[in-house]
């Protein structure tokens, strides 16, 4: 019997800190495309909608939904009037400036609606509602809304990219790319903390439902079918060996953040003593033609567990697998297969 609870070398568990991020693209279409192209090349466009001019432009009448075609694009600005503003005293890395600035609703000359943009005013004292501001184009414009900013005054801007002014018809902006993401930080839930700490000392912990006695591994902290919570008193240990109930050979799809390149097996295993399967177990060293439902497998713990040096770099509250931080591989036990019919209700 291995020591585990209150055992001194149980792993330190970090707070969950995960950044979900993807380089999404945007197809700009017949109106936003010319608008972004204009920002890059030195003009600001709106659309004429009836007797009004809407800027930033839209593909439709915002009041009725009627289609507004690119023949209605008109140039506005380059100066305008601040309708409303707010001061950003402490910019973050996502802001257009690393020093304090204003976000303002700017009604450009010739437009009837306001555009939200950044005003580099120097200090909050320079900002007033009704003040005049004028656009400044960036030399390295890519065809995005951040190709420009505004400054107080009426002095007309220089054209962007002066060195490139002789270029013949640069490509219009048709598709843009944006790295969009969110950083998620949350504490580990108590049942999850106990599960991971158990793993760090070589024990697999589940929870026995007080409603029907079924053992959930890993537990969600509640029995979803009977809708009852489970507590530390319901913790039980299960074996580190079990039966394959389901598997897939994965041909990795190449996407942002994907590190897998070669096919490998993903399987679900019903551990002895458990009533739910652990899923997403990677199998790298058993040939696919020898892999099957009903196969008996033994988990081989890694050396870090024996040394009490498990490091959990990537923890979460939701995954239903076991972390590779604690196992080396899974090995066939040599026992006879279990009849697939007997595990068919565990093939998730």
């Amino acid at each position: 019997m291995r020591l585990w609870w209150n055992q001194p070398r149980m792993a330190e568990l970090p707070e969950i800190d995960f950044t979900l991020e993807y380089p999404y693209t945007r197809t700009t279409g017949p109106i936003i495309g010319p608008f972004l192209t204009g920002l890059r090349d030195g003009r600001i466009l709106g659309t004429r909608v009836g007797d009004r001019v809407v800027c930033p432009p839209v593909e439709y009448d915002p009041a009725t939904g009627a289609t507004i075609g690119p023949e209605h694009l008109v140039e506005v600005g380059p100066a305008g009037t601040v309708d409303a503003w707010t001061w950003v005293a402490e910019p973050t890395s996502k802001h257009p400036f690393d020093h304090p600035f204003a976000f303002a609703q700017i009604k450009l000359d010739g437009a009837d609606t306001t555009m939200l943009h950044a005003v580099d005013a120097g200090s909050i004292e320079k900002m007033t509602t009704g003040m005049r501001v004028v656009v400044r184009y960036h030399d390295d414009g890519l065809g995005t809304i951040t190709d420009v900013h505004f400054v107080p005054g009426d002095v007309p801007p220089a054209m962007p990219r002066p060195a490139a002014a002789g270029d013949a018809d640069p490509e219009p902006v048709a598709i843009t790319e944006h790295l969009i993401g969110v950083r998620i930080r949350e504490p580990l839930q108590p049942h999850r903390r106990r599960f991971l700490q158990g793993l760090s000392v070589g024990r697999i912990l589940g929870q026995r439902s007080p409603a029907d006695g079924k053992i959930h591994v890993p537990s969600r902290g509640y029995d979803a079918i009977n809708r009852v919570p489970m507590t530390e008193a319901d913790d039980v240990e299960v074996a580190d060996r079990g039966t394959v109930t389901s598997f897939t050979e994965i041909t990795p799809v190449q996407y942002h953040g994907q590190t897998e390149t070669e096919p490998y097996i993903r399987c679900s295993i019903l551990l002895d003593g458990a009533d739910t399967t652990i899923g997403g177990i990677d199998i790298r060293d058993i040939p696919i033609d020898e892999f099957r439902v009903g196969l008996r497998l033994q988990m081989i713990w890694n050396d870090a567990v024996g040394r009490g040096e498990v490091r959990f770099d990537d923890v979460d509250n939701r995954s239903y697998g076991l972390t590779e931080a604690v196992y080396e591989r899974w090995e066939p036990t040599g026992e006879p297969d279990v009849d697939p019919e007997l595990v068919k209700e565990h093939n998730f």
């Binding site: 279409g29 839209v58 593909e59 915002p62 289609t67 993903r266 565990h346």
Partner: protein, 385 residues
Amino acid sequence: MARPCAVVGIGQTQYKRRRDDLSLDGLVREAALRALDDAQITFADIDAIVLGKAPDALEGVIMPELSLADALGAVGKPIHRVHTAGSVGASTAISAAVLVESGRYDTVLTVTYEKQSEGNATWALSGGKSGGQGAGGTFAPWIREYIRRSQAPEHIGWMVAVKDRRNALKNPYAHLHLEDISIETVRESPMLWDPLHFLESCPSSDGAAAMVMCAQDKVSRSPHPPAWVLGHAKRTEFSSFPGRDTVKPQAGVDCAAALYREVGITDPRRQIDVAELYVPFSWYEPMWLEGHLIAEEGEGWKMTDEGATALTGDFPVNCSGGVLSSNPIGASGMIRCLEAANQVRGTAGDYQVDGAKVALGHAYGGAAQYFAMWIVSSEQQPEFN
């Protein structure tokens, strides 16, 4: 008692790998304006809008029902958002029907879409982490379990892949037009998730689909025959629990049983003329024929094998080419519902089933855990014998 509701307008975009000519606003408007045009009405005639799509992470546009409201003429009108993973297209159609049936709104516009080219679905379904198994990797073991239980021969999956793609050749909106597809090309295409080959899997598409539904006293305003919504059902279950049958999920059985009971259907195979089932991977045709009580257990694959599900069979399935030929995920379920409506309105063009009166539209989502189905008919109260 719910009041009658009918589909009077249908609009679809061209489905493509990338609609590089349209913004997201433009994409949903293309479908919406075509549905309004089909119904011969305008945004001004719409009382409420229901929008559906799959997870926001697919395009990274969070709460698109807000940013798309103006583009859909929703100023001063209620707009609703529905989300039930892959089944969302059918769930959205049902939500729109309920708004009419309840008596609250007379005319409802419903729109669903996906612009898959702007993100990556497998990345999104993997929670943004490396090593995701994707939808095919999730379903493959359940397909193998179906094959084990039913003793179905391996060519069944290939047959479905060929049939649906050949049907798609008759559908000008379909993403895939694979002129040369055959049993051999499917069998020889790369194995993605055993037993699923590349050509047994759905494509990744951009596209949108829309319908106009209205109450009985507004139907005559529109020129084309209506498709009456005879009934609908939605059911859900957890993705994983001890005792779950992933091959024939109880929620799918219950959903179908509730639907047939509501409509008065006692023998679905005989009383339904044509079906559009959500089949993103070939084997789901026989699996849903059994899972939704159209065939006895172990008999679904025989319907496929005998040609019963072909365009000329006694129970045609996915005459439009199905999800295997076009998959703008959020819209895919609505396309099943509107293609069912096309069949009973007689507006299905080259893939029209002669004399179709009663049609089933179906979608499933998540880990085969969300189900949404409806039955439409050319008649308001057809007699089932």
